[in-house]
Symmetry: C2
């Protein structure tokens, strides 16, 4: 056996050990009382607050190593555990304590003609594998959401945050122990070897769902290699359509906010569609406002007839997720053309119409096949907190299981419960 | 290019054509009104009723070919389109008309502090691929469930039912056309080549979910090869646990019904667990009753102390789905041992406790990790019709998306809908 083969075998064994312990812990967690889960979350918050100096010392090791390796400043920034970020983690834990426990809730109870009573009970999925990149606060957020929803977690953060994540794992373990819950309920993968990710994605017997959090290349790799279901979103090519009957002030406000409130988020506007009857009046005003914000416009031929300075958009621009101050602009002939464009080029993430027309609003809501469809609101609202989920583990552009912002409910399933008095099937 | 490679290419092209047309049809179906979908279902029912002689003539071709190929009598029986079976298909279509349309329903609407109003709308999944074996009635059942839930369907039945399925497809096409819906909403794969199944399982861009209906080898092949999410159940290793505080009459009635009402179904009892304190009194009576029905018992050592004639169970028996008049029997020490046995050896399908003890019932419901958990009722009730779903496309032992009996709702998803008055994100 070669050295590299042996290494892979060792990692496979290590990961299987994590998986086996997670599966056992998941059973205890599934039946843990709400009070015990909340006590653990509060104890983790206290442990993190008390360990701040130690956490920052470990974090400095990661920052120093990152600088040595020439990590980009943006990445180093995300990696840093500042006082404010530690306080935010602690506050986030307390917020998750305040959320209602989804587990054990029974809904839809009804009597059937046979005399049995049938309902559905919300239950944990079991073991969640989370794969993420540099930000160490994800370690605590993800652990807390899994814990509250009664799931065991296996966390695999970026290798550049290894010391920080291990120090946070110690705090999490202390909190779990203080509440009498198994420490294997949350396990952090302690090797930087990328083979560990491959193993995690294939452990069908031990892991029920994988949640990747990070850039597109991470999510693509996870989707390609996983033998386990994945909750993910790939692209956020979001649209705002200014309808023939849009209120002009709302149209300008929403189109501007959806693009410029933040550039790097998945619910940011990437292609603006404008009804041909409104383009001559609205596009010059919008172009002026975007110019003030430093946004580059890339327009179709009809857009450039109105805005001669505008760069010409190519076919690729309709599919682009810029995540930058660039916006594609297309003039369309009415609602049907807008819906057609969105269903053809969009990524089924978030799309909005600006209109005062009742029938157009209804048709847009029904016919645009995206995880969030909006009328007269900025696409930037597509977010677990804004939707009232209380927390967000990610956004799903898939249709099966969870769609759109995923909160605690997305980490649960429903089982049927049947109450009888000795009924048998005839 | 070799002949076989060329054949595979031709099939790939053929299947891609089906997929592309299904995707286009799915858009029309997603926005189809309830009335149009119901008119199509009734027109299909009428077309089938009117075409009975032609359907049976085509069915005879399949039966003759099957006899020539030496198909087993049980398979030939399932293949036959008798008058009664045609009447049942027609009746089934009318029942699906009577079910409420799940599509477009909006739930959980609430105002958020930002002023936006958020809810969730039920929407179709898109294109459903159904892979099944010899029974031609599945062609009609599956088409009807997909149609009612606003999904396009690609149906791939067994090669031994090819003529029957094509004749049914003609009736389905007539019904769709009569209601003004696209005929590509339901397409039957017209080649017996097994390569077509492989293609169907890989057409990520055109198919949203695969539902296999058939024996274990089919489902295992589909699970192994599919690049698309699969709604499936593999095994039904169901348990009844007779608790220390069981009512004796209920225990005997349920244990007998769960095993003997039908042997070949996935919700049939396969392992009976009996609390050690009740075994000496109950096992002899149960053994007598099972003997009268011709059921062979395979017991653990403690069972055989009480029933000396009983065959010895091996480790394999605890994992066996007999689908036959055979029952594994194990004496256990209390509730914890029973739950442990079920979570270790079971298939997370359906498990029941017989008890009058409130706390034991509550713990069993919470801690047994199966898609259906029951108190004082026969496992045979785990069924879409018995649960009031109105129809059943299958039973899922997976946890993601759909769990337990899957009705129309399992073929749908939820998207977020947001209503605003020009709100922007601060």
């Amino acid at each position: 056996m070669g050295a590299s083969e042996q290494r892979v075998n060792e990692i496979a064994q290590y990961m299987e050990g994590l998986g086996r312990r997670a599966r056992v812990a998941s059973r205890a967690l599934a039946r843990a009382e709400t009070g015990a889960k909340n006590r653990a979350l509060l104890a983790i918050a206290d442990a993190i607050a008390a360990a701040a100096p130690r956490l920052q010392a470990e974090n400095r090791k990661d920052l120093d190593a990152g600088r040595m390796r020439g990590l980009e400043p943006a990445l180093l920034d995300r990696l840093e555990l500042t006082d404010a970020r530690i306080a935010t983690m602690v506050e986030g834990l307390r917020q998750i304590v305040a959320l209602p426990d989804p587990i054990g809730a029974i809904s839809d109870m009804s009597y059937r003609p046979s005399g049995i009573q049938v309902g559905r009970m919300r239950v944990p999925l079991g073991v969640i594998g989370i794969i993420y990149e540099s930000r160490p606060n994800v370690t605590v957020d993800a652990a807390a959401l899994c814990l509250k929803s009664g799931n065991a977690a296996i966390l695999r953060g970026g290798s550049e945050a290894l010391h920080s994540n291990q120090a946070l794992a110690v705090c999490i373990g202390e909190g779990l122990a203080a509440a009498g819950l198994p420490e294997a309920a949350v396990q952090v993968v302690e090797t930087a070897d990328r083979a560990a990710v491959g193993e995690l994605l294939r452990m069908k017997d031990y892991v029920d769902v994988i949640v990747p959090r990070g850039g597109k290349s991470l999510i693509e790799r996870v989707s390609r290699e996983a033998l386990i279901p994945v909750i993910k979103h790939l692209d956020g090519v979001c649209h705002v359509f200014i309808d023939a009957e849009a209120d002009a002030a709302k149209a300008v406000r929403i189109a501007l906010n959806a693009k410029t409130q933040r550039y790097g988020t998945c619910n940011t506007l990437e292609t603006l569609l404008v009804d041909a009857t409104r383009a001559p009046a609205l596009l010059p005003e919008l172009a002026q406002r975007y110019r003030e914000k430093g946004v580059e416009l890339r327009g179709c031929a009809r857009t450039r007839d109105i805005l001669p300075d505008c760069v010409a958009a190519t076919e690729q621009d309709w599919r682009a997720e810029y995540l930058a101050p660039i916006l594609a602009v297309r003039v369309v002939d009415g609602l049907d053309a807008a819906i057609d464009h969105i269903n053809t080029y969009g990524s089924q993430h978030t799309d909005a119409i600006v209109t005062e027309n009742y029938t157009h609003a209804r048709r847009f809501l029904r016919e645009v096949d995206s995880s969030s469809v909006m009328v007269n609101a900025s696409t930037r609202f597509a977010d677990g907190f804004e939707y009232g989920l209380g927390a967000e583990i990610g956004i799903s552009t898939d249709k099966l299981h969870a769609r759109g912002p995923v909160g605690l409910e997305g980490l649960t399933s429903l089982k049927y419960v049947v109450f009888g008095d000795g009924q048998i099937r005839q």
